[in-house]
């Protein structure tokens, strides 16, 4: 199993730089995702990522107002990224553990290809584990 196999999910939700935290919350709830990407201004700028944990810890726990705060103020930037699509799943998981994150941005060349989350890894493992079980049953 390689990183390439994990990139099958829906495309990342991208918000512009001027969005408020409330816009990000709405985008997450409506799209049922745990993170949104904040777009960059030009090629010299970096993409940012805003996760559910950032919002809970940096906005709601501090009693700040999601309507008045810009998403760009609390985003993680630059992204924790990977561009080696042949990387084994084990090392993808290790990278998450090292960086203490649950999402990685995957780039193919210059373009943002997808966001891989820990849920994608679990699903890939579940598929593999189930696949083995069913093939064993067939043999019997």
């Amino acid at each position: 199993m390689e990183l390439r196999d994990l990139c099958g999910g829906p495309p990342a939700v991208i918000l512009n730089k001027e969005s408020t935290v409330m816009d990000a919350i709405a985008a997450m709830v409506e799209n049922k995702t745990r993170c949104v990407v904040i777009d960059r201004e030009d090629t010299g700028d970096a993409y940012g990522l805003l996760t559910i944990t950032d919002i809970i810890e940096d906005v709601i726990a501090r009693g700040l107002e999601p309507l008045k705060l810009k998403a760009a103020d609390i985003e993680s930037k630059p992204l924790i990224a990977s561009n080696n699509l042949d990387l084994g799943v084990r090392w993808v998981a290790k990278k998450m553990a090292n960086e203490e994150v649950s999402q990685l941005a995957i780039f193919e060349g210059e373009d943002l290809k997808c966001i891989v989350s820990d849920v994608d890894i679990l699903k890939a493992f579940a598929k593999k584990l189930k696949g083995k079980d069913s093939s064993e049953e067939e043999e019997k």
């Binding site: 709830v29 745990r34 809970i56 709601i60 009693g63 084990r90 679990l122």
Partner: protein, 148 residues
């Protein structure tokens, strides 16, 4: 305009969590999680002196897959978190629920009502609560047109 309810009691929407036995393998936990789309499983206690435990997707990614271990060889009891992070005051504001999560670095908190188990507060339900409160706030502000 009615008073907007921001208490812990109003946001808890999940009263049950799928559970898994402490001596089953992590492979079973992965299948259980993806089947039920619930990425945290409760581990019941052995007797009344024991504590409840919890196993989340984070435990599995960080402690099993990242270390290159075989999920079939590792048991749930080896990687679960125990005891649970709990809250007992049901009238607590959302803000302090979020603060409790941030301080203990977890995404699921068990809620007890006077010693009895009540439900779970997750980071997802907090976000949804904020979203719906804002939506209702907008509805309350706009003039109401009733067409007949």
């Amino acid at each position: 305009m009615t008073e907007i309810d921001r208490t812990l009691r109003s946001i808890v929407k999940e009263f049950k969590m799928p559970s898994i036995s402490h001596d089953s393998s992590v492979a079973n936990a992965i299948i259980e999680m993806t089947d039920k789309e619930a990425y945290a499983l409760l581990v019941p206690r052995k007797d009344k002196h024991d504590a409840y435990g919890i196993i989340t997707k984070r435990d599995i990614i960080y402690k099993v897959i990242a270390e290159g271990k075989d999920p079939k060889e590792v048991k749930v009891s080896q990687i679960m978190s125990k005891p649970l992070v709990i809250l007992t005051n049901l009238d607590l504001d959302i803000r302090w629920v979020a603060k409790a999560m941030a301080d203990s670095k977890v995404s699921v908190i068990a809620v007890f009502d006077r010693g009895d188990f009540y439900g779970f507060a997750t980071s997802k339900v907090i976000l949804e609560a904020i979203y719906y409160l804002e939506k209702r706030h907008k509805l309350d502000d706009e003039p109401l047109y009733v067409s007949c």
